[in-house]
Amino acid sequence: MEWVSTIIQGVLLGGLYALFATGLSLIFGVMRLVNIAHGDLIVLAAFVSLAVVSGLGLDPLMSLVIVIPVMAAFGYILQRGLLNYTLGNNILPPLLVTFGLSIILENVLLEIFSADSQRLLAGGLETASLALPGGLAVGTFPVMIFVSAVAVIACLQFMLYRTALGRVFRATSDDQQTAQLMGIDNRHVFALAMAVALAIVAVAGVFMAIRTNFDPSVGPARLIYAFEAVIIGGLGNPWGTLAGGVILGVSQAIGAKINPGWQILAGHIVFLVVLVVRPRGLFEKVQDL
């Protein structure tokens, strides 16, 4: 029974990793941009929430009402004002610029908020639990995160395949030159994609901040988890990303069960095994977006 509980914890943790990864996967899919600053943007969202919570006295979950639009607007401006200029035939400039952005974000947060470890308190939600049959109990908040991850990915899928905005994302992803010939302004489309990605990052950042301690330096580790989830699941496949997050979460939970020091390592090992055995991911991309 203890093992069942461990696996359930792992699955639920995987929901958070899937939220970390979804935005990363979306912008790679639409504009082939590998965003090294993705983890720091998650941490930025956490700090924006912290500022909103302490400034306005809002509940952390309620702060999403402000954090999501703020991050989405920041994403639009970031893409339109900076990252669009790095895109082209060469993949190096976006890597270098987002790497630089990562360092800048980390240091700006350090300057403003100091290196102190922070946590958002959600009024007992973080310790509440649900009783399951068989004497098991799961945390209410981890369940909430997992359900949110499923909902976010389902909404993203619906948006991509059923709406005009989704069609333009897919068209641009497929062939940028032809998309322009069809009257599509790529710069605007890329900026919208980054806005959607950072709206998802906002959700991920706030959930992370309620679930664990954070400080300005934790971004790169979130980036690694996000990359691992995306690659295990197969690039460009949102449900695969959820599965990738779950596999990563379960591996970490089992590793931690065996020996608390092995939690992170176990996740990395499983990732490396997948990379060796199925380099294109377990659920190889059926299609680009």
Binding site: A164, R167, V168, A171, D174, T178, Q180, I184
Partner: protein
């Protein structure tokens, strides 16, 4: 005033001059055919008109406005529709979705309002049966029809057709000519680059011959085809 007018357009790639001081025009409702040997600069002219390439010198005016400095998506919205020689469908999207993207972004329609007009275009381009097929699964003829349909979805004032007959069988080519004739009969202004001269002559009211980026002749198709210089340059090459 002509619908499209190019004045003194030049384009070089490094030391290779591809378009040299070219001036040309297209009148409203006219069908202009362009022929010329491979590498004469025909596709480059289209790329300069659509904005895929910037000219080194000269001007491009369309529908009464200078468009030389505009980005490709703005030129599309101003009414320039184009098909590629090698079809570039959005392969993972359905045929209908391909058209919707053109209608929504090229013509500024809301999706719901675009449905009827897209269904209509599918009908005219004989793609109705393929509306829900993935564009990547189409045959070459169907892909060429999709190029045409998607360009029409943007509600262009002018269509640029780049060797749309190339690679098709004689029968397929005849089918496509029928479709193009219908579209032209509806009032569409067309510039068509084609190596298949008889196909071109069945639609074009005026013929222009390009060689080494320069205009060799321009005028009534029969007169142009009778020009000894044209016969030497064009027939000479095609007889090889």
């Amino acid at each position: 005033m002509p619908l499209l007018s190019l004045q003194g357009v030049c384009k070089s790639f490094g030391s290779l001059t591809v378009v040299d001081q070219l001036s040309m025009h297209l009148d409203e409702g006219e069908a202009l055919g362009i022929i010329g040997p491979n590498g004469a600069g025909k596709t480059t002219i289209f790329n300069i008109i659509t904005g895929d390439l910037q000219a080194d010198a000269g001007s491009v005016a369309f529908d009464g406005a200078e468009v030389s400095g505009l980005a490709p998506h703005k030129r599309c919205r101003s009414g320039i529709g184009r098909t590629y020689q090698i079809p570039h469908p959005f392969a993972k999207m359905s045929v209908f979705e391909n058209l919707l993207v053109g209608a929504v972004h090229g013509n500024g329609e809301r999706e719901r309002d675009a449905y009827g007009h897209c269904v209509d275009i599918l009908e005219r381009t004989h793609l109705t049966g393929k509306a829900n097929a993935a564009a990547g699964s189409l045959t070459l003829l169907e892909r060429k029809r999709l190029e045409l349909a998607r360009a029409l979805a943007t509600k262009p004032k002018m269509l640029l057709l780049d060797e749309i007959g190339g690679g098709l069988s004689e029968q397929e080519c005849q089918d496509l000519i029928g479709t193009i004739k219908d579209i032209h009969a509806g009032g569409m202004s067309i510039i068509w680059i084609e190596h298949i001269v008889h196909a071109l002559l069945s639609v074009a009211e005026r013929l222009m011959v390009i060689n080494f980026g320069c205009k060799l002749d321009d005028g009534d198709p029969q007169t142009v085809m009778a020009n000894p210089d044209v016969r030497q340059v064009y027939m000479g090459i095609s007889a090889e």
